[in-house]
Amino acid sequence: EDIKPAVAYDLGGKFDKSFNEAAYTGAEQFKKESGIDYQDFEIQNDSQREQALRRFARNGMSPVVAIGFSYENALAKVAAEFPDTKFAIVDAVVDAPNVRSVVFKEHEGSYLVGTLAALASSSGKVGFVGGMDIPLIRKFACGYKQGALAAKEGAEVFENMTGTTGAAWNDPVKGGELAKSQFDRGADVIYHAAGGTGIGVLQAAADAGKLGIGVDSNQNGLHPGSVLTSMLKRVDVAVATAFGDAKDDKWTSGVYVLGLKEGGVDWALDDNNKALVTEEMKAAVEKAKSDIISGKVEVHDYMADQNCPF
């Protein structure tokens, strides 16, 4: 039976080189596999969040996937207005019978790439470049730190944020400068969670012959040989699954917390970076991964207490 799926992206837009783009990829993938077309919308201001969701619901679209925690309030409202429409939201929890909330344990994935970073670093100094200083990004940073420290006693982690306006997510030049300054301070691996800004970080790493770490989608291919790995946040899977479940009548509402165990986050290994990842590094990461999954290692979630003990 045919469905009419839809996606509403966050302010960053569908090509933000980050989770919006991942969502887009997922939707496209579903379209390719099922041959079912979908509708999408890029909002221009906060007032359009409700408008977009409502608009989709009215047009009988379902499921409607909202990307980004900023949709929380809007969705809570609209979901109540359209109880028969299936909604999903990524990165936030909306408690309603017709809403599927998908949140990720970014800290777990960040922990893994932190481990890798520390192992790959010869100076024992690694860096992190975030877009804006908001809780979500701190969550990335905190997991990364913990991973790095766990892998190398006394490893040093530099942490920088790009800016305080929307431009912070689209400023590769500034990103590059931040990376360079961290390299100057001795770092030789840098992990970014900064959308378009990160492109500049990875570029700077490549130019300086150092290593960068990608985020959200697999960015190993951007600079083969210079991107150590990427922290995968499978927003694409979340979106594709939401569409798929609806299609196959397997839709379930409720909260989905996707961590390593659920394969919601992971680290990327492919031809582009296998030369960079030695056997022992690989072993170490896989160990950490299983420990986390088994619960032997507990990765601190910044959101739990709004603070990072490391």
Partner: protein, 322 residues
């Protein structure tokens, strides 16, 4: 300590370059009496054109040419509106900023399907760093070694272009006929007119100069400092350049120092970010992010006095009120 200073200065140079180019660009236009808050838009348009063409042609130079062309086109649009049709110069500038933001993303997506991003440039399609002779051998000589090999050597061509444009602009402005007339028309177009010189044509030439320099600035962003265009990548630099221009009271050499200052404050903030400060200890990152702007205001209020814009600036030249 000294090395750190060198490194900060090094990054200062990189950060100031686009500001400097845009700032000098604005200088030509505003000295001729045509205000221009569209620097941002021209830079963005140029960055896109440069990134796109460099990617297609696989040549940085082709990219540069395209960037300049695009920027000039926008500059001429500004001229058409504010010189030929005596439109409001501010509004025209705002319009150009909008057009640039929209068109770059639109065309980028239409041509490359990478969401307004242009394909990543291979090294040979970028302006890469030029290492001066003996830079490496001299590196270890105390002081000058660092200065020479880090600060002066090892930047890409456009950086040198930017800093050479300063004396060039000074020379054009104060040593050539064009410069004399340019300065005159910004102060009193009627005087230029009655001296038998066409105000319109003179101002058009000025905005074309603006176009050229903004073009270089854009190309620097997308083909030198980064490897490709990303939407909105100018991130407000056009406005900072404008501020620098006023800061420098519309004079070339001070313009350079103003831009270096902005670059330096930015570099400093980047460097200090996330490190505890002596005495104060840990400071919220936002403090550092605001630092350059706060210091700018302080310096402006503290040392730079009144800035008097070109007298005829901002108003179209109308002799017959019909």
């Amino acid at each position: 300590m000294f090395d750190m200073l060198i490194l900060i200065l090094d990054s200062t140079v990189r950060l100031s370059t686009p500001l400097l180019l845009a700032c000098l660009a604005g200088l030509y236009s505003e000295r001729s009496g045509v205000f221009d808050i569209g620097l941002e838009g021209k830079m963005l348009g140029a960055a896109f054109a440069a990134g796109a063409v460099a990617a297609l042609a696989g040549s940085a130079w082709a990219g540069l040419a395209a960037g300049i062309a695009a920027s000039i086109a926008l500059a001429l649009l500004h001229g058409f509106a504010s010189i030929t049709h005596r439109g409001n110069q501010i509004v025209s500038g705002v319009a150009i900023n909008f057009l640039a933001i929209g068109l770059t993303a639109l065309l980028g997506q239409a041509w490359f399907q990478q969401g307004g991003q242009t394909p990543r440039l291979p090294q040979e399609a970028r302006f890469t760093d030029i290492t001066w002779p003996f830079a490496d051998s001299l590196r270890d000589v105390p002081v000058i070694g660092g200065l020479y090999s880090e600060l002066f050597s090892g930047h890409n061509l456009l950086v040198y272009v930017a800093f050479l444009s300063v004396p060039l602009t000074w020379w054009v402005l104060y040593r050539t006929r064009f410069g004399l007339r340019l300065r005159a028309v910004g102060e009193n177009p009627a005087a230029v007119d009655t001296a038998g010189i066409s105000v319109t044509w003179l101002r058009y030439r000025a905005v074309i100069c603006t176009g050229i320099l903004c073009g270089v600035a854009g190309a620097y962003l997308s083909t030198a400092q980064s490897a490709g265009f990303i939407k909105d990548m100018t991130a407000g630099r056009g406005f900072i350049a404008l501020a620098a221009l006023i800061f420098a009271k519309w004079r070339p050499v001070p313009a350079m120092f103003a831009c270096l200052l902005f670059g330096f404050l930015d570099a400093l903030a980047i460097r200090l970010q996330g490190q505890p400060l002596p005495v104060i200890g840990q400071v919220p990152v936002q403090v550092f992010q605001a630092l350059p702007y706060i210091l700018t205001v302080v310096l402006l209020a503290g040392f730079i006095g009144r800035a008097v814009p070109p007298k005829a600036g901002g108003v179209a030249y109308v002799k017959e009120r019909t």
